[in-house]
Amino acid sequence: MKICVLVKEVPDAAVQKRIDPSTGRMDRSGEKNLNPYDTHAIEAAMQLKESGALPIDEIVAVSMGPESAVRALHKAVSLGADRSVHLTDAALAGSDVAATGYALAQTLKRESPDLVLLGQQSDDGECYTIGAVVADHLQMPSLTQVIKIDVEGGALRAERQAEYGYDTVKVELPAVISVGDAINEPRYPSLKAIMGAKKKPFDTLGTADVDIDASKVGGDNSAAQWTGSKPPPQKAPGIIIEDEDTAETVEKIVAWLDERKLI
């Protein structure tokens, strides 16, 4: 069996993110990293493989993004993926979530995975949605924000928190599952794995290689169009106290609470 893990390169958490005012797209320059949620997806794949619960032969990391995304794929491989696939094409730049999901689904079709795993959200925006888009294109059952996966009779038994509490859902394979960060504690890559990552098989593909209809992708062809931006309503900034002397800090908090009749 084969697991494909969708990974994404995102701006490093320490980078101040901004929007390019001329395009409305995120300025993606600056330090980047593998989306932290995706490391949980790779770990989930590794645990399924190592437990022997499913006969997993191969874990493949798949990413769509500019040339720099290679580094995110190398990191994914250092965390356990056997090889990686990079979809990169100027025609894809600026794709909205629907177009991105379509392009990723076309890439996944080439791999015919038995299970697609991904992080439930990315640090830089597209929240919760990409898994469901990909699943519909692949015509696979799907569940997002999963925090526990067990294998039962060749199917997955997945747990997640939804509107009314915890749901347990049986999902038959092949399937698309997005995972939350409570699902596991990702391992650290060994030095050997980091050094070896660049030697693992790596495919670079363009839109033509995976039958992507160019009229359905890219910023200009996306159905959701950014038409402007504005500042949020301003709220008066709060008071910030740095705790140096805790007794003094507590005194200040109590005075603040007292002033507002909260005690």
Binding site: R18, I19, G24, D96, V97, A98, C127, Y128, T129, I130, A132, V133, V134, A135, D136, Q139, M140, P141, S142, R160, Q161, A162, E163, Y164, G165, Y166, D167, T168, V169, K170, V171, E172, G180, A182, K216, S222, A223, A224, Q225, W226, T227, G228, S229, K230, P231, P232, G238, I239, I240, I241, D243, T246, T249, V250, I253, V254, W256, R260, L262, I263
Partner: protein, 326 residues
């Protein structure tokens, strides 16, 4: 044309509050673009009354489709069937988890544009423009649609519930054939579990704990402080610590938990992710204690303390007790 289809999530005979908000907003927007607001419910044996009750929130029609409850893909099938029969320009979802899944799946099915985490929608020249905060709410981007159908997924509590409509919605049964893959996921157990019932919605003072508490035992600090305040004071939690099993689900604030607005919300060891913020941002006074000075919670707290909660909370508890006793 110009009709808006709103997904109405229901559970145990009641419509979800965020869905009621979405129906109310959908009715307002539909009238602005010259159409009607229709609601759609998917489940087994949904009562006529429940469907018709959406009329009070402005739905002209309630479509009822038969299918499993609590799963997104059967709802995608039902909404796609309704939309493909014509007349709809937009699909609208209130905040929550299923809305994201259904809306995203529907976007793929219809080749439609989708806007997520939307906090406001306005009508402009017969079309809708969605406003979505981005980059940690530091800017708001405006999104319009060029596909025949636009999909809007709101953030939790984005829309107010308004009982503007008169009478009841016309109930119409919608025949839907589920896609084969939509039946390959099935619900084994649905809802609640994880811990006892805690009442946080009626509290005047809430001490909320996050990962920064370090362990389940860390909640003792929050409980002691709440006890020091006395009266209607309670303890609440973030999703991360509920998922980790440190605190019962009933005490969870945010996206898939509760929405609260106490007089005082004291967040201890909570970073302030959007999913948490949407459940507590209307609190009258917000105090945050966090050792990370970059934590987003400091952007929307009235009083922010950068420091170690394990040092501060015990002393604060003593000080509050002393103040109460004086």
């Amino acid at each position: 044309m110009g009709n808006i289809l709103v997904y109405a999530l229901h559970y145990k005979g009641a419509i979800n509050k965020n869905s009621l908000g979405a129906v109310s907003e959908g009715a307002k927007l539909a009238s602005a673009i010259g159409g009607e607001c229709h609601a759609i419910l998917v489940g087994e044996g949904i009562a006529d009354d429940l469907c018709a009750s959406l009329g009070a929130y402005g739905a002209a029609k309630a479509l009822r489709a038969s299918g499993p409850e609590g799963l997104a893909q059967p709802v995608v099938d039902a909404m796609a069937a309704a939309i493909n029969s014509g007349g709809y320009d937009y699909a609208l979802f209130g905040g929550g988890l299923l809305g994201f899944e259904v809306g995203a799946g529907l976007a793929a099915r219809l080749g439609a544009g989708v806007a997520m985490e939307v906090t406001a929608v306005r009508a402009e020249g017969g079309k809708l423009v969605a406003e979505r905060p981005i980059l940690g709410d530091s800017a708001i981007s405006e999104i319009s649609f060029r596909s025949p159908v636009g999909i809007v997924i709101a953030r939790l509590n984005a829309f107010e519930i308004a009982q503007g409509g008169t009478g009841s919605a016309t109930v119409e049964d919608l025949a839907v054939e589920l896609e084969p893959f939509s039946t390959r996921a099935s619900m084994i157990q649905r809802g609640e579990q994880r811990g006892e019932d805690v009442d946080i919605e009626g509290a005047d003072v809430l001490i909320a704990g996050g990962r920064g508490l370090g362990a389940a035992e860390g909640f003792k600090l929050a409980e002691d402080l709440a006890a020091a305040f006395g009266g209607k004071a309670g303890v609440a939690a973030t999703r991360a610590v509920v998922d980790a099993g440190w605190f019962p689900y009933a005490g969870q604030i945010g996206q898939t938990g509760k929405t609260v607005a106490p007089k005082l919300y004291l967040a201890a060891g909570i970073s302030g992710a959007i999913q948490h913020k949407v459940g507590m941002q209307n609190s009258e006074n917000i105090v945050a204690i966090n050792k990370d000075s970059n934590a987003p919670i400091f952007d929307f707290s009235d009083l922010g303390i950068i420091g170690d909660l394990h040092k501060i909370l015990p002393k604060l508890t003593e000080a509050v007790k002393a103040k109460k006793g004086s």
